[in-house]
């Protein structure tokens, strides 16, 4: 039972992490109509920055904060230099252009940091297990990840739904010319939104760095999941991204943990150990397929923020 | 007079709380040009959409040439001889003018699961397309990419595509949309020629064109028919003046 609760917490943590990544993606797409494949690169850069700055300053938290700001700046720079020219173009052009950026960033990272990955050690106060409920202890770090993500989600919600900037963002999503005509500096708005998306990606990257990985190409693997989530949740919808991300997080984590055992009940030992891992990794794609069949626009189509 | 070519009986369509079509009764006689007018939001395009099969009415009946077509899918209606043009130009801009119309011909020339023969060399597809383009006055422009045409020529092309299936009756949704005075005059001339060969249901805002072309006029306000009859009768009808023409006169008075 304790193991189950732990897996549930893992699912929650993973889901929330995916939400951070997907939120940035869906925000940029919903508002600027831009498909950004290089979103994963920003995730990677966030992790690399964190590992580097943490080593320089000797403090995990300080390194993380500097990395966050640095990623935000890199994001805005990319927007000004490259993304601007892609607005209004065919989505195919976005995909191709940002794919080129992926190649560029992967090589750049390899040039600067070398081909071997990096590691980001945690300070001891985050390594301690915490007793969540009597009898069940969970990693303090993962708990703080959950907390941070929830706080960010709440801030995002507040930002988008309750502030003037958020209103501009939502208005921008539905009517760009109008917002421009109102005298709002669209260029600046877009740069900021893109920067926000980059920061979210970077935050996700640096948060998972201590527990998962810091290596070249890490962005691409998780980018697919972020895309799947935006499709399931509905492009442009933050709420949809949250629901979908949690769904995916739980299904993937619990699926990998329990599905092979479940298979063993039905199939022979050998068949189960061959098919088990393969099918577990397929589960979220099956979910996506089902959503596609039942509701192709996603669970919460655009506008349902 | 024999049975009308198009018979619309008690057509109803709602979108949530909005009544788009309210018990519409309409007849179009064979060879007639019947205009449908009304202020913006009167439901004219929704009506055409139901007649062409794009939308399904909530209740009511539509008969074309004696056949019940109320729920018949779009492509089957054009097979029966009822074709439609679109208000918002929606063409194949990166294909040639001739290709555009040839596609409209191809849609009714059996299935298209033919993978080998060059479709641009098939006379059964190209000849009717050329003929339709000649009818609308675009014979000189057939090999240009559709994107190279002016807006007025786009409207002509739009008409050619509707003619491509050699229909008995045309549903024209604001063919003058966005046209300047010269182009409008040309379009009116063309429609006068077509009028002699086909039956036409014309939805239009351009009052000059309507009164120049129509044999009969139906006036739609908030989805309801408030008047229907010969142009002179409509012009004189007080309800129509009030709801529609009157507005324009009042506006003209303010200039």
């Amino acid at each position: 039972m304790t193991l189950f609760i732990e897996q549930c917490l893992n699912g929650l943590q993973f889901g929330l992490l995916l939400f951070l990544l997907a939120a940035g993606l869906t925000l940029v797409f919903g508002i600027m109509d831009l498909v950004n494949l290089a979103h994963g690169s920003l995730y990677m850069i966030g992790a690399y920055f964190a590992a580097t700055f943490a080593a320089w300053t000797g403090s995990f938290v300080l390194g993380a904060l500097i990395a966050l700001v640095a990623t935000l700046l890199v994001g805005m720079a990319v927007e000004v230099v490259a993304m601007r020219r892609l607005y209004g173009r065919d989505h195919l052009d976005h995909v191709l252009g940002t794919f080129g950026l992926i190649l560029f960033f992967n090589e750049l990272v390899r040039l600067i940091w070398g081909p071997a990955g990096m590691s980001l050690p945690l300070p001891f106060w985050l390594l301690m297990p915490v007793e969540v409920v009597p009898g069940i202890s969970y990693s303090a770090y993962k708990l703080s990840m959950i907390a941070v993500t929830l706080i960010v989600a709440a801030i995002l919600y507040f930002l988008v739904m309750r502030t003037r900037i958020g209103m501009l963002i939502r208005a921008g999503a539905s009517n760009r010319e109008m917002v421009g005509a109102l005298g709002v500096n669209i260029k600046l708005l877009y740069t900021l939104v893109f920067g926000l998306g980059a920061a979210l990606a970077g935050l996700a990257g640096l948060m998972q760095a201590p527990i998962l990985t810091v290596q070249i190409g890490m962005g691409e693997n998780i980018l697919i999941l972020a895309f799947v989530i935006t499709v399931i949740g509905g492009i442009g919808s933050i709420r949809g991204a949250l629901v979908a991300a949690l769904l995916v997080g739980f299904i993937d984590t619990l699926g990998r943990a329990y599905f092979p055992d479940f298979l063993r009940l039905v199939l022979s030992q050998e068949a189960a150990s061959t098919a088990g891992p393969a099918i577990s990794s397929m589960l979220i794609y099956l979910l996506m397929a089902i959503v596609l069949i039942v509701k192709p626009e996603g669970l919460f189509s655009a506008g349902g923020k | 007079m024999s049975m009308p070519l198009l018979q619309v009986k008690d057509l109803d369509k709602r979108f949530g709380g909005i009544i788009a079509t309210d018990h519409v009764i309409l007849d179009v006689d064979d060879g007639e040009l019947h205009a449908v007018i009304g202020p913006n939001g009167a439901g004219k395009t929704t009506l055409i959409a139901q007649l062409s099969g794009q939308l399904r009415p909530d209740s009511g009946r539509v008969r074309f040439a004696g056949t019940e077509i109320t729920t018949l899918p779009m492509h089957k209606r054009s097979a029966l001889g009822l074709a439609r043009s679109f208000q918002i130009t929606s063409l194949f801009l990166d294909l040639s003018v001739l290709d555009n119309v040839a596609l409209a011909v191809q849609a009714h020339a059996g299935h298209s699961f033919r993978f080998w023969r060059d479709a641009r060399q098939v006379p059964e597809l190209r000849e009717p397309a050329r003929a339709a383009l000649a009818r609308v006055g675009l014979a000189e422009r057939v090999d240009l990419p559709a994107s190279a045409l002016s807006h007025g020529e786009h409207r002509q092309l739009e008409l050619a595509m509707a003619l491509a299936s050699n229909p008995r009756m045309l549903l024209l949704d604001e063919p003058m949309a966005g046209l300047g005075p010269e182009e409008s005059a040309r379009m009116v001339e063309m429609l006068q020629v077509l009028k002699r060969e086909l039956t036409i249901l014309l939805v239009e805002h351009d009052m000059e064109a309507v009164f120049a072309l129509a044999d009969r006029i139906t006036v739609l306000v908030y989805g309801r028919v408030i008047a229907s009859g010969r142009p002179d009768a409509i012009r004189a009808d007080p309800q129509v003046r009030e709801a529609y023409l009157g507005e324009e006169e009042r506006e003209a008075g303010h200039d």
Partner: protein, 320 residues
């Protein structure tokens, strides 16, 4: 494909002839490496041509096309592993498996449009990547070595590198011809119309979904053949062949070469792979150049090499 004498047509013919004469050069210069390189180029050119059918002509932006390279390759590899060496069984299975997969995935993906479609095709290709990578019996992540090449009837011997090159080249030319006929046929007109304005196509009476699905399957089958050839060329197949960045490479070939013609992708495949070879000789970080280059092509030379050649031959047309 007009028969007029333009810069572009001359270049196209020159390329096709040069590819035929290549083994002669290899024999004279005694440079086996060039033969191996160009065999790979020819095989991937076929894959790119198949992608252009759905991408350039059909407007279906599939970011998972490399999955068929994997399916075709694994069909050959798995059957070889299970001691079934006959090419007459392996290759049809490669084609059949590709068709089935394309039908299943296409049926789902084509329910979406635009960017959704891009993401879905990508996701399904990744799914295949992970699933195959998880099957230990056939090498898992490390891949599968193919110890014996597909057997056909003598005198065809795929172990002879020159012969194998000509087999691939013949299949490429056959593929180009087939795609050319398809895009100009009635079926092709529907596909092109659907790319241009899908809503209008349906309005004039075409049930575009089924046409697009069949087109998707055809492209998948041709690419599956390419996959079988690819696996044969290296005597090896691994899940990496299906990784989504490989699909990206195919798209680069198509866009770089030019989406507007059947032969454009061949230009692209040659250009990209030769460029890769040349650049990696200069620096191991050549992708730093390739990445921005791709962005520049997208921004300023959208018609690709084909487009550029086309523009050289003609005076600038005045856009109204």
């Amino acid at each position: 494909m007009s028969a007029t004498l333009t810069v572009r047509n001359v270049c196209a013919v020159a390329l096709l002839v040069a590819l035929v004469l290549l083994p002669l050069y290899v024999w004279l210069a005694d440079d086996q490496f060039v033969l191996t390189l160009f065999t790979r180029i020819v095989i991937l050119a076929l894959a790119a041509v198949s992608l252009n059918l759905i991408l350039g002509y059909g407007g279906m932006m599939s970011f998972g096309h490399a999955v068929y390279l994997g399916i075709g390759g694994y069909a050959v590899g798995i059957l070889a592993h299970e001691e079934i060496q006959s090419g007459f069984i392996q290759w049809p299975v490669a084609l059949g498996a590709s068709a089935v997969f394309a039908l299943a995935i296409g049926a789902l993906c084509l329910r979406t449009r635009g960017v959704y479609f891009i993401m879905i095709t990508l996701a399904f290709a990744q799914m295949a990547y992970y699933v195959i990578g998880g099957i230990e019996r056939y090498g898992g992540d490390d891949g599968l070595t193919i110890y014996q090449r597909s057997q056909f009837v003598p005198p065809i011997d795929l172990n002879d590198r020159t012969q194998f090159y000509y087999v691939c080249l013949a299949l490429l030319y056959g593929g180009i011809y087939l795609v050319w006929r398809i895009v100009n046929s009635r079926f092709g007109m529907v596909i092109q119309g659907s790319r241009s304005n899908d809503v209008r196509m349906r309005a004039i009476g075409f049930p575009t979904y089924r046409y697009k699905l069949i087109c998707f399957v055809i492209a998948g089958v041709i690419c599956g053949l390419s996959g079988a050839l690819l696996a044969t060329n290296t005597d090896f197949i691994s899940p990496n062949t299906m990784y989504w960045t490989r699909s990206g490479d195919l798209i680069i070939m198509v866009v770089l070469g030019g989406m507007g013609s059947v032969i454009g992708p061949v230009f692209g495949a040659v250009a990209l792979l030769v460029l890769e070879e040349a650049l990696s000789g200069i620096t191991e970080y050549w992708q730093i150049i390739l990445g921005p280059l791709l962005l520049l092509v997208v921004l300023f030379a959208r018609g690709g090499i084909d487009g550029l050649l086309y523009d050289i031959g003609r005076p600038k047309r005045v856009q109204p």
